[in-house]
Symmetry: C2
Subunit: 362 residues, 2 copies
Amino acid sequence: MPQLRIPGPTPIPEKVLQAQGKQMINHRGPEFKIILESCTARLKQVFQTKNDVLVLTGSGTGGMEASLVNVLSPGDKVLSVSIGVFGDRYARIAGIFGAEVVNCNFEYGQGADPGIVRDAIKANPDIKAVLITHNETSTGVTNDLETLSKIVKDAGLLLLVDAISSMGALPLPVDEWGCDVVVSASQKGWMVAPGLCFVSVSEAAWKTGETARMPRFYWDFAQARAFSEKGQTPWTPGLTEFFALDIALDMMLKEKIENIFARHARIGQMVRDGVKALGLELFADPRYASNTVTSVASTKGLDPKLLIKIMREEMGVVLAGGQQTMDGKIFRIGHLGFVSDDEIKETLDALKKALPKTGFRG
Amino acid sequence: MPQLRIPGPTPIPEKVLQAQGKQMINHRGPEFKIILESCTARLKQVFQTKNDVLVLTGSGTGGMEASLVNVLSPGDKVLSVSIGVFGDRYARIAGIFGAEVVNCNFEYGQGADPGIVRDAIKANPDIKAVLITHNETSTGVTNDLETLSKIVKDAGLLLLVDAISSMGALPLPVDEWGCDVVVSASQKGWMVAPGLCFVSVSEAAWKTGETARMPRFYWDFAQARAFSEKGQTPWTPGLTEFFALDIALDMMLKEKIENIFARHARIGQMVRDGVKALGLELFADPRYASNTVTSVASTKGLDPKLLIKIMREEMGVVLAGGQQTMDGKIFRIGHLGFVSDDEIKETLDALKKALPKTGFRG
């Protein structure tokens, strides 16, 4: 098998793959109830929250849509703090469902500047909610969410967080930082196939949601919570991913979340050091460099698309390219979830061999 | 393993379960492109359509929501032809997203009367679309969609069909019957775990969709089609279910769809005959009895909940109860997808043994 070094889907441990081969069960029976309740309780541990955590069947983008339509009404003003493709997407979904979006965009590669965010909030006193990407997968940037969340909460606003590629890999204590709705997805730090998203919902978000008028049915949090209370989901859930999550959460809690965070921090540094040692340039501002995904700039004659092709076909390492406006400008190395120091060494060795074949004059 | 005789999730063949254990791949790479294109082409064969068929990550209810928000605008008048819980759900979603719903409801257990549907259409000349459940899982009824579709198409209206528990198991030639949007889901006739839904979209539906104003992002057909054309999905897809679908479609086309339909018809009859031979009463009008799920009435002292418990705990056969207002009034036997004559014989034998313990005086 080639080594999958994209920022999701991420590699799945053998034990988890085996769980995926389990025969179907009744999703309204006692066996599923145990799985759902146990997964939910353990998800809360990783989210570091006492808030409700709901599991919805769909990809992370579905979770983002859900986080908006459950707390907002058409016409509500929201501040979109965007630092890349996924931040832009969050704003776009909000706009499509009728929110009035105030954009607070930062250059790709940068983290959000807390002072500018504070000013934007001050300049728009009628804002209801702020949308922030914790970890921007498209640029390999992690926002300083601890500082940003304080600004948002001090202003008394709802804080919606896209933590799709951070939760379970980077520290994000939901309650301590006062995040109202936080979205993650199974194929990132969780070592599970895509198909489930996880959403934490604060009391304030529930309260706002009671009168929120954006239309919702499939993604409705209230239905998810009502069914969750009887050990079910409103619609047929992705059972295979639940079987997998059940095992993956065991592995995560056995490793302990502090150790998982430390492993990601160590590996993130190893990737950045290794990439720089090869003469490559990091795309992201080093102050905000992500410990789950590293973006590398196409400098010194490097053709990222050719590199990705050679790495895949000749080295057996699958890397990611740039998305949308970043296409051809960067390549990305994913290092989240089930990833070890040895695999990163292999990736860096493969890069060293591949680079001379790509026009790179490092 | 107990025998799973609920109307979805349905049992998964060993070969398909094995495919679910496959390691993750890049969902934007060449390997996934082959799977998506090959699955899409074969889905069209089962749908018997030249229309686009899109694969979305979510459960069947997500597909129902998608079928509405992609072709309708708030204020559009739709006729909901409902014969049960899932027909009611279709109407409810339409209403939540702003459609003006005209209800044409039939008694649970009955199929839709074509004459009444024709009159309802005549009485509402400003109707834009008609929503019909092909196979109503909650009551075990299959509508005469061939006749109903002719009425809808003769009136020049859009026809949206919930074929979640029929497609791939019962004949539904989409093009021949002129169905505009048809929804199915992986965990029913397809022998795959829940997590994917399949939607066919006619030219007329695409055209209407261009100006349709219901808000949509995650479920947007246009994005799904645009990405499908380059062998991708807009958001990260349920890869495990795609691996499984790839194998399951091979099995289906090897068996041939005519033979699959014949097997379901034979087994449906076997279930009904067997149930009646035990002295039980069928809930559904025999003219409309479904060949994928059979509902049995709680007559002669039968306690359906107790029966389901005994069947599961003592006989190793998992049956389904009634939903919502049908709770406690019926039990249901699922017989769709990966099901054989022998398994049905086992189910009927188990029922025979269990019934005397349930208060049944048959």
